[in-house]
Amino acid sequence: MSSLLLRRCLSLLFRLLLGWLLVAVVVELAMTGPRSRGEVVGGQSLRLLRELVAGEVPESLAAAGAGSWRSMLGEATVASLEALAIAVVVTLAFGPVFGVLAARWRRHAWVEILLAPFFAAAWLPGFWLAGLAVWLQFHFWNQPGFSDPAPASGGPVAWEPLWRLVLVAVPVALGAIGWQMRSVAGTLKRAAREPHVRAAQVRGLGGGVLFYRHVFRNSLEPLIRSLDRILPAMLGMQLLVEWALRFPGLGRLVIESARAPEFAGLLASGLILATVVVAVRWAGETASRLVTERNA
């Protein structure tokens, strides 16, 4: 067990370094574009990093925040991670459960019909839904709808900060639930077609017992691995939703930086995003390895 954990920790370190290197390479490549013509190509990332450690947020990013880079990045990261946590909790509360039900009752057409709206919702543009939410707030509650500037008093609901987080999390989770459901149902349906499951069925083992004790338990490892696969897509949509709601998170920083363009903001956000994705994927892989070792 300890050697497995040690190997996993080394793997995490290696992957983090690789992820950060990739972000730096991407930013360097982008800096060779027409906007940056005339600048020295290569080695700009180090200059940007020094700027991020000691410098102040430039005026071109005033809409995203002010003060030192470090404090602004800290606040934006915390805000985004809070919203992401709510989105992940909502996704995990609905997606896997509905996916398991869809696989369990796979022979009934009504299950597919009942779950079809969720599958369709996976393709709705979340940033458009966020824009509609802003308009609805303005139209029905006479509130600005955007997270910034903050309403003078109270807002449409009692818990204004939580309401703003929920507004970011729901469009993100709505898409992810459909994906998660499809992924879980697909994994379980494939496992239910395995020859040993059919043999058990022929020998007279009941549907529920067979499904939950054998199919579900044997698919635990791919199911755990499937949880982190949608994270990059969720984060991508969250960037857009945050900007649509003017939410003071990483999304707003990324898009304001891309509009300015301000590559220091892009580099910093990229490093944070890569860290989050790599860490979550690593945790999923480690959990799945532990489950495999326990079953072996």
Partner: protein, 302 residues
């Protein structure tokens, strides 16, 4: 004495007609899908070519706010401040977006397959491992973020967006194709062909590529709706507008609608509805392609 009918030589033309009719009857669902999607994509292409590009500032218009009419019997999608009906420009923009995404994904997938093939031919196992690592590393960053970064440097114009989307699709397909090559190379008939002394080129052309292209086509089709959302998101955010804006595409309409949300909300409503419908149409196209080619793509990755 005339020859008996069973010995009479059949007309080639009739034989062709008979075969075509049989193929139509047996594969009616495929042809129905092809015709249906062909009509939708063709009409969008015609709309994209027929209507001029509405510049980003002209979407909202420069006139008085009172000139803007909400959606009604005469203007289904409403008008902008200059009184321009928005129905045709929105569909033209949708056509440009859809065709940009189609071309980028198809070219990117072909590039990905070519890259994986070259690597398969030159380095085999070591090449597959590198492809997988590269694809996994790129996949660990949100694709939207990569689009924003490249848009900051190169703008969100048609060529830059097509290049970035194509490169992302290509890297993704190359990673998957590497895994597929590895699986196919270990199959019995490929091993038998190698044992019989077939050259690597012959195995590649006769054994591997014919089985690989349907998988790549299914993979490319599955990427389409996500690519359309990403393209629209790029235009919506306005990233890279200082270098080259995403003019005349659906995202630009959504972005303009979002900026004028409290004055002309219908500028956000209808382009968003069109985008949602088109995304679902492309998702169903992907499903139809997978079903027709009988290629169940692993749902865990999409």
């Amino acid at each position: 004495m005339p020859s008996p009918p069973q010995n009479r030589r059949r007309s080639r033309f009739r034989e062709r007609i008979r075969r075509a009719a049989k193929s139509l009857i047996e594969g009616w669902d495929f042809y129905l899908f092809a015709v249906g999607y062909g009509i939708v994509l063709g009409l969008l292409g015609v709309a994209a070519l027929a209507f001029p590009v509405l510049e980003s500032e002209a979407i909202v218009g420069f006139g008085d706010l009172a000139e803007a009419l909400p959606p009604g019997d005469h203007h289904w999608f409403g008008t902008n401040r200059d009184g321009v009906d928005l129905l045709a420009p929105v569909f033209a923009a949708a056509g440009r977006s859809v065709w940009l995404v189609l071309v980028a994904t198809v070219l990117g997938s072909v590039f990905g397959l070519a890259l994986a093939t070259v690597i398969c031919f030159l380095w085999r196992e070591r090449g597959y491992r590198w492809l997988e690592r590269l694809s996994g590393a790129v996949g660990s960053l949100p694709a939207m973020f990569l689009l924003f970064v490249f848009a900051a440097g190169y703008g969100a114009g048609t060529r830059a967006t097509m290049g970035t989307l194509g490169a992302l699709a290509g890297l993704f397909v190359a990673g998957r194709a590497g895994n597929w090559y590895r699986d196919l190379e270990n199959q019995g008939d490929v091993l038998a062909a190698r044992a019989l002394g077939f050259s690597r080129g012959r195995i590649l052309v006769e054994q591997l590529l014919p089985r690989l292209w349907p998988r790549v086509a299914a993979c490319a089709a599955t990427l389409l709706p996500a690519a359309l959302l990403a393209e629209a998101g790029l235009g919506f955010s306005g990233a890279g507008a200082t270098v080259a804006p995403a003019e005349g595409r659906l995202g630009a309409f959504l972005g303009a609608g979002h900026d004028a949300l409290f004055d002309l909300p219908w500028l956000l409503w209808w382009p968003g509805v069109v985008l949602a419908v088109l995304t679902i149409v492309l998702a169903s196209l992907a499903w139809a392609v997978r079903r027709t080619l009988d290629q169940p793509i692993d749902e865990r990755i999409f």
